[in-house]
Symmetry: C2
């Protein structure tokens, strides 16, 4: 009987931070060895972080990553771990084309002992890998104690043919994959079904190690797992936190024995936690300790404030109430109640004196006067950000961003927008979920994410309700003129969000939307709003390219990594 123990090291890396990433890999390799593992697998591009975008094109960066991989192999041997097989992701160079490669290296015996280059390069959605990397030529497998281990990197298992088909033809005892698969709602099951299909194809268990953590606009959810050759889940790591799991492969057994299996998360909890982790990591990786945001008493800013409190603690949240002559008393109370529930700092900065000062000079009316109010608030939020070194949070949701129902340089101000991918109806659902969780005893900071432990209830809430019920239940209003309601300008959110989900999230065209049963007037209104709002969503000014390399479309670097190389 051949038995061999694998460790699944689900870690959170930072793009470009070779030193910190290497230190973490070394630490997890030690823990894997202490746990009896012969082989430890890390996520895709562990050493460099992922996705590294055009950082891959810098020869100096690739050289530094190569040196680091060699130094790490030597350090592991010096630590007495030369017997361990450590599968780490990094960037390589294809010396024929001088193009970068998305690479797995096996560190063993003090050296970079083997390597494999990703073959299928995703080039859709958030991925631009065909732009950056050249494709590896084919499959790689290696033997440990007589066990044949085939490898693959992420997209390699999403497309038919290629390395997995080659490995199936050769025969392997296990397929070990490293992944940088970003979170999206419902993807857990898609991944698991896919893995089951590939396990059947190679007729062997499949190990799926995924990255965890936030990187700019992306959140990686972890949830690493092993499926057996028949598709049964053998082990599964929790989502949204770092984790070291183990899997004992028995090559003689028809079926592998099950290990720890983390339960599925509630769908609302899952999305809420993704948003919190994205914010928490954006702050940590860019070295922000606190946030500031406008608290209007409305539901969007309330949910964002709750997420921020969960990410970094209420004491690191600066709420700013900026009432105008059109703000209702209820709104002001709701904002104050929320800040008290979160234990957040809370200032009131009335905007009327500033509005009057501008109007003395400018005498605006209509939309220009409405935007002026939002922009005065933007200036105040940025003043707090600059004066106190806080990250300004934008509180816009996906429905209003989609329709352009926001003021550029006004409420759209901020370095990070935690709910920009949540439709308004989802904002309500998550707010209700968070209140239920608070009632059930999960206070601030009790979430299940990197750096927290599940079951830690965090700071208890005064009465078990985080977000004032009134903020959830009142009709949405921008309060920029008397009696204003969102529904004056937009279809009711219940309808709007269904059209937006179809048009944006499922990419239905006009004919498809009509076939979906939406009425023509609504479809045309929503399409017109969404299409016109494109420049506002992109927000940075356009400008002519006149040199070989201009900022913008030419040069694409991760925001978070920019100062790390």
């Amino acid at each position: 009987m051949t038995q061999i123990r694998f460790a699944l090291a689900q870690i959170d890396t930072c793009v470009g931070d070779l030193d910190a990433n290497t230190a973490k890999i070394r630490d997890y390799a030690h823990r894997a060895a202490q746990g009896g593992a012969r082989v430890v697998a890390f996520p895709e591009m562990t050493l460099t972080g992922y996705p590294i975008e055009d950082l891959a094109l810098r020869a100096t960066f690739r050289r530094a990553a190569w040196d680091k991989a060699n130094a790490l192999a030597a350090d592991l041997a010096a630590d007495g771990l030369s017997d361990l097989y450590v599968a780490v992701g990094t960037v390589g160079t294809d010396h024929d084309s001088d193009k970068p490669r998305n690479r797995m290296v096996i560190l063993h015996d003090g050296v970079v002992w083997a390597r494999y280059d990703k073959h299928f390069l995703p080039n859709y959605g958030v991925f631009d890998e065909a732009r950056i990397f050249s494709a590896g030529p084919g499959a790689m497998a290696f033997d440990v104690d007589g066990v044949r281990i085939g490898v693959a990197i992420c997209e390699d298992i999403w497309q038919d043919g290629g390395p997995v088909a080659e490995l199936a033809a050769q025969g392997v005892d296990v397929l070990m994959t490293m992944n940088g698969s970003p979170y999206e709602e419902g993807k857990t099951h898609v991944r698991r079904d896919l893995a089951a299909r590939r396990a059947a194809e190679v007729d062997a268990p499949l190990i799926y190690v995924n990255q965890v953590g936030g990187q700019d606009d992306l959140v990686f959810d972890g949830g690493s797992f092993v499926v057996d050759r028949d598709g049964a889940t053998v082990t599964r790591a929790p989502m949204f936190m770092e984790h070291l799991g183990f899997f004992d492969l028995d090559t003689d057994a028809a079926h592998q024995s099950a290990g720890e299996i983390a339960p599925d998360m509630d769908p609302d909890e899952e999305v809420y936690t993704a948003c919190v982790l994205g914010l928490k990591d954006y702050m940590a990786k860019n070295r922000f300790r606190g946030v500031c945001l406008g608290l209007s008493g409305g539901i969007d800013s309330a949910l964002v404030a709750a997420m921020a409190a969960d990410a970094v603690g209420g004491a690191n949240v600066q709420g700013i109430s900026m009432p105008s002559m059109y703000s209702s008393d209820g709104s002001k109370d709701d904002a104050a109640d929320l800040a008290a529930n979160l234990g957040a700092a809370y200032d009131v900065q009335p905007i009327e004196p500033l509005f009057v000062a501008y109007q003395n000079q400018l005498d605006l009316d209509g939309v220009a006067a409405e935007n002026l109010q939002a922009r005065i608030r933007g200036v105040i939020v940025m003043a707090y950000s600059n004066a106190k070194g806080l990250l300004a949070l934008a509180t816009g949701n996906k429905s209003e961003l989609a329709c352009g129902y926001s003021t550029i340089y006004g409420d759209a101000v901020g370095g990070y927008a935690p709910i920009k991918d949540l439709l308004k109806t989802r904002v309500w659902e998550l707010s209700r979920w968070r209140n239920r969780a608070a009632t059930a005893g999960m206070g601030i900071g009790g979430l299940h994410i990197v750096g927290n432990e599940r079951g830690d209830a965090g700071t208890p809430l005064p009465d078990g309700v985080m977000i004032p019920v009134n903020s959830i239940e009142k009709a949405p209003s921008a309060e920029l003129r008397p009696g204003q309601k969102d529904s004056d300008s937009l279809p009711e959110y219940d309808l709007l969000d269904r059209v937006l989900a179809a048009y944006i999230e499922h990419a239905h065209g006009r004919a498809d939307l009509l076939a979906d049963g939406f009425d023509e007037r609504t479809v045309d209104t929503v399409m017109r709003l969404v299409d016109r709002a494109e420049w506002k969503r992109r927000q940075y000014p356009m400008g002519p390219k006149v040199t070989a390399l201009a900022f913008g479309r030419d040069r694409r670097l991760p925001v978070t990594a920019a100062f790390r190389e």
Copy 2:
């Protein structure tokens, strides 16, 4: 002797505007036929505009383009042009993969008579074509009056092998290419050398028809040409304007006779004109009639105002002087003089009362107080934009954008930034060039761009100088505190710009920069500034992706076209 006349239709299209593009094609086809042409070639993706980014992925859009191509073929026949061969670019569909194709169709005899799909798909710099299109399988040639015409689309001639190599092996009498090749400084010669190389490869003349006009961040410069088999230029169209040129191919002649050859432009004139055309087309295609911008008396806003006056006339430029307690009298005078020279509307909006109103509440100091001044100005500029329906222009140059030496939501405010790709030293050079041109009699609107005629001197300038000499010659200052100079925070521009050109425009890494002879301290300062400023340049808030399709990295639509489908 076989002689055949080609027309080169160098036109300006708008992405997504199928109706207007088709009408223009029809008009040029008529003019080509009147000029005796048998074949007329248009630029890449003429019918749809270019680049259409993810608009290509919408099946409804592809269907509409297909219907339009067929209707156009029928209309041309109904107009009595069924004998003409009209080569038009459009989007197609690969029915095997259901992916879009970058396609040339030959309209003839009332139908879509032949087609060719682009084989090499550029996927670097500003291009993402491998993301969007599938590659056409191979070469296409067709016969007209016994003349064999091979075709290619843009990137097809930039890479070795593929369709051009196939055509060389088959033998053709002429290689006719349609292009969407964006402007960059010095590219004219690169294109011409490349074309000469390909003409030699197929041993036949090469026709190069290029798009002209601005589209979002890109400017297409036209400059269509024909090179003979020995690389000699046979004809060349002017840059930056629409043009219909003709070329008579004589298949029996060893060398073709030369036609009209537009002279090369002065390098400063070329870059200046590219910036003006980019702005002019951005405005026209987004239906803006006028612009507003802050006039500080400094050189950046002066140059931008001059460009705007050249683009849409001084009467459509709203200058806003927003002096603070730190603004010098000289600056205020220079701003007023500039506005007078341009015939621009000019308002003075002192910011001190507003600054005092904010400070009563916020009591800021240091950088926060400096940014406050810039943001008050941003609010005022946007108030003019909203109240009068004007496009707000951002006046930042590439040096300050690169180093983050600007205030986000302050001076960075605007929908279009005409000089965002010009280093500061280039801003000075172009300002001096524009004054020389004014002295030489070229008034406002006398530029050589789409919609203007060369030699039209435009509105004469009062004293032949457009930009106040003082704005050009004084030491640059943001004037946000007493005695402030840019050189307090940045290396001198002369040095800074050389480092930036090497680091950004030529992608040199740290080791390369040291080898270039720059001192270590300067290199590290500049790299740190540039890398840290990444988020400010991108400016829109980051936010977690939680759905299948989120705004941002997932969904990439042209700004200009967004409301046209």
